[in-house]
Amino acid sequence: MSDAPKTDDTDVTVADAEVTEIEAPEVPAPPPGVPITVNGETVHATPGRMLIDACEDAGVYVPRFCYHPRMTPVGMCRMCLVEVDTGRGPALQPSCMLTVSDGMIVDTESEATKKAQDGVLELLLINHPLDCPVCDKGGECPLQDQTMSYGPGESRFIEEKRHFEKPIPINDNVFLDRERCILCDRCTRFAQEVAGDPLIHFIDRGNNTQVNTFPDDPFSSHFSGNTVQICPVGALTAKPYRFKARPWDLTEIESTYPNAMGDRITIQSSRNEVLRYLGVDSDAVNWGWLADRDRFSFESTMNEARLTAPLVRGGGLGAPDPAGAELVGSTWSAALAQVAAALDAARVNPSSIGVIGGARLTNEGQYAWAKLAKGVLGTDNVDAQLGDGIPADVLCALPRATIAEACAPGGTVVIIGTDPKEELGTLYLRLRHAAIHDDVKLIELTATETGLSRQASMSLRVRPGDLGVVADAIVRGDETAEIGLTSTADIAAAHAALNAADQVTVIVGSGSLAEHTALTVEAINAFASRSKVKFLSALRRGNVHGAIDLGLAPGLLPGRTSLEAGRSWFNDKWPTTPAETGHDTAAMLAAAATGKIDVLVLLGADPLIDFPDPELARAGLAGARMVVAVDLFANDSVYAFADVVLPAAACGEKSGSHTNLEGRVSAVRQKVTPPGTARADWMIAAEVAMHLGEDLGFESSTEVTDEIAAVSPLHAHATAAAIEDAADGVLLGNASTGGPARFVWQDLGAPSPATPLDRYSFRLCIDRTMYDHGTLTLSAPSLAPLAAPGSVRLHPSDANALGVVDGSAVRLSSKRASVEGPVVVDARVARGVAAIAHNHAGLDARALIELDAPVTDIRIETL
């Protein structure tokens, strides 16, 4: 990919807006900004804009190494020297450190400029090894390219170059070759400024300056892969791509990564194999950054363990046998016929059919499955969330904020129930930037410190179970309250901050698995009563927001409308609509456990791992008469319980669209073919329908996109053509454009009182981390080792009181069960809280959860 940064033209737009307000239209509007001369041409540029960007706006590219538009300029490399005359005669100035001023005369091609460029390149190449033939960056290397375009062609240097040990690992996935480093400070600036993980630094500054980590303290940042993307030479390389291809062998396509942020990516492949994802600088979304988990996850879709052909539970020669112990290979026609037969038998009683999952799918897959389940089969037992999120009807009733609104200068953001650094990497980067550079006040209400606590203007510890009451006290300004861990002073201060704020964005995560969803809803309720408030859902699973918008939830129809409100609208468009509101995942599993579900479809879902109650998940999957799985991998649930498995296409193998947490629909594009006979989810739905003798009415993913736009007023603007054209995607927004009524927020009244905690107990908090034992992480060889083993994190004082240290084994007991695990002492956890990350090896705390109680308290014994 070219290193040319996307320029930020916000200022120009603002000036444009002002110009259009000028009243007399006959006077031609003056061009915005001040006049400057670039290589003899007069252009207009906004005062204060970096000269290097202004030149680029004028079509003149100034070579550079250290300047990056998303980071503070440092003037390290001097490659961008140009001759500038500001009235005192021409002089060489680094254009990345100089802002535009009226009448500036710039020459980027003068003799002096050329001499400077020659000199800088000759100097940089003094120590840079000429190992381009064996260097991964060769072919896409800014140093190589700019040496060709601007360099002197030969060097006068005949002495020995600097030598360092050839590439050293600076973490599990990134290698550093210090000989190649040109000390541009991009990676170190990224680590410090952008990611907030300054674990690499310039050391031995002087003749032997080098980038390095502290001994035995690796660059363990969730974002380390970005440094590889922005390094202007081959000094930083990433293990998953090293020596896999040459840039000129790669072809690429721009797409959207299926995470809740909808990060924009470039998918690069060679010979039908995806070899790399790069972040794309989308102003609205990820600014070019990606979390490592997403960047390196292509390994997972390229994994050989992917399902490549349909499987059925059966015996020899692929004969279907529901009692069979194994999944055996089958054909699409046989597998589809088996699914269709079961659905056909079950459809007389639609509520005996259930669909769990769907967040992995594109909008098109989701809509096709929603139409099949709700519009053809007539069941409303459909839920894309696995009892670990926020009820869909709650989310649909909240005004959606955009990321840009949340990060708008001077704003206030309340974060509840999530650590964006662990759950939504690029949202964390955006919020961190906003807090540091744009004076955005962050107020966080969480049980443990988060990655943003140091940037937060208020970081309040809230004991799990108290969230509703604390939020209520903060919004109402209850000055008498001291609630659990949250002091009166903190509540008063947060109330004052909220009162002083104008527009507020509330980022709401799904909180702890061990905390009842009702508590998150109570907290939402408290904030929803405020007038100027918008919400951003921090649900993290793939395209979960698309799933909700397209009706993959009980009681919902596509377009964020309820079953009742939308029934007549959709009766015109679909063969049928569900007669009654269906079950969510928990209720479906419970119904299945008692034999009331005939066909249970798992759309990329793994209830055994993700559902908060593994026993119920097991009982439900075992009790369903037939389990059909549409998935990339035979995950635990699929392997143990599926009767028919249909292989699906993954990211990079299908086209369509994706909806991010702000309701931005952007293009998903296909780069390679799916393995074996795996196919896109919408196609699978359409084929199941065909085997049922029905026609879903679309034959390509574009047709599905257009049908969504036609039937859902919310999606009216998101036609296939509009999505294809819009670089940053189409924002669905909040405004209703006719059609059935949308959800509106209804006040739920006062929150339930806080649950007291006795002094011998700990409150259980099951939170999520970037790397866990999820299918995606485990099936990517570079990511799998990053998942830490399971542990109980305790505050140092609690650990002291219990007499435990790091590694001590303890037994945790709730009313329901006991589990054992090792302790990790962690000052970021609040006192009285036992924090356990969900889905880490060796410790599954879900057994402890008392599902009906608002929270779970546990006792800890040392072993």
Partner: protein, 201 residues
């Protein structure tokens, strides 16, 4: 290797108390760590990182910039032979070579009886060139014989040189009311007169 000792930690807290921002105490704390063993151990850097709330990599970045912070063991007696311009002109290189022969080790290494030496840049005593320092105590106009006399004096104890340590002969003491008051390492609050910027610890 060693972190800061109990005694050093007490001083460290006092040093931290002088500054409105903990990070400002970084260099004084590195001096303190160096005082402990004559060099700054990795563990001490990690410990300092915890105290001033930065990463160990940032401490290393600062520490490794300064020649006078040593990151590998040094002798009990550290001889710095100046080879700045004046000293160079008046025989510093010869003196260095002589030192190598007398001590039997290369510059930067330590003899069995705990003497180390190295060439350093101008130590600001050019009028007395060639000159050297032993644990930062100056010896002026040193020739080969002078050097040998120094070494044998150090060996038999007839030349007394206080232990290596910081440059100051006595520790700086800042009265309570002049200190910034960040005395509690757990309390990040800045003194009232210090304008705290948003987003800063």
């Amino acid at each position: 290797m060693a972190r800061l000792s109990e005694a050093s930690l007490r001083i460290a807290h006092e040093i931290l108390g002088r500054y409105p921002r903990k990070k400002s105490a970084l260099i004084p704390l590195l001096h303190l760590a160096q005082e402990q063993h004559g060099w700054v151990t990795d563990d001490a850097m990690t410990h300092i990182a915890e105290l001033v709330e930065v990463t160990p990599a940032e401490v290393l970045g600062t520490c490794s910039f300064y020649e006078m912070f040593k990151r590998s063991p040094v002798g009990k007696f550290r001889i710095n032979i100046c080879h700045g311009i004046s000293c160079h002109l008046l025989g510093a290189e010869e003196l260095l070579e002589h030192a190598e022969h007398t001590l039997g080790v290369r510059p930067g290494s330590v003899t069995e009886d705990q003497i180390s030496f190295e060439g350093v840049e101008c130590i600001a005593a050019c009028t007395e060139a060639p000159c050297l320092q032993v644990n930062y105590r100056y010896m002026n106009k040193v020739d080969a014989d002078g050097f040998d006399a120094l070494v044998s004096g150090l060996r038999d104890g007839s030349v007394y040189i206080p232990p290596h340590g910081t440059l100051a002969l006595s520790r700086q003491v800042i009265p309570e009311d002049r200190a910034a008051g960040n005395a509690m390492v757990d309390d990040p609050s800045a003194p009232s007169w210090w304008p705290v910027e948003e987003g800063e610890a």
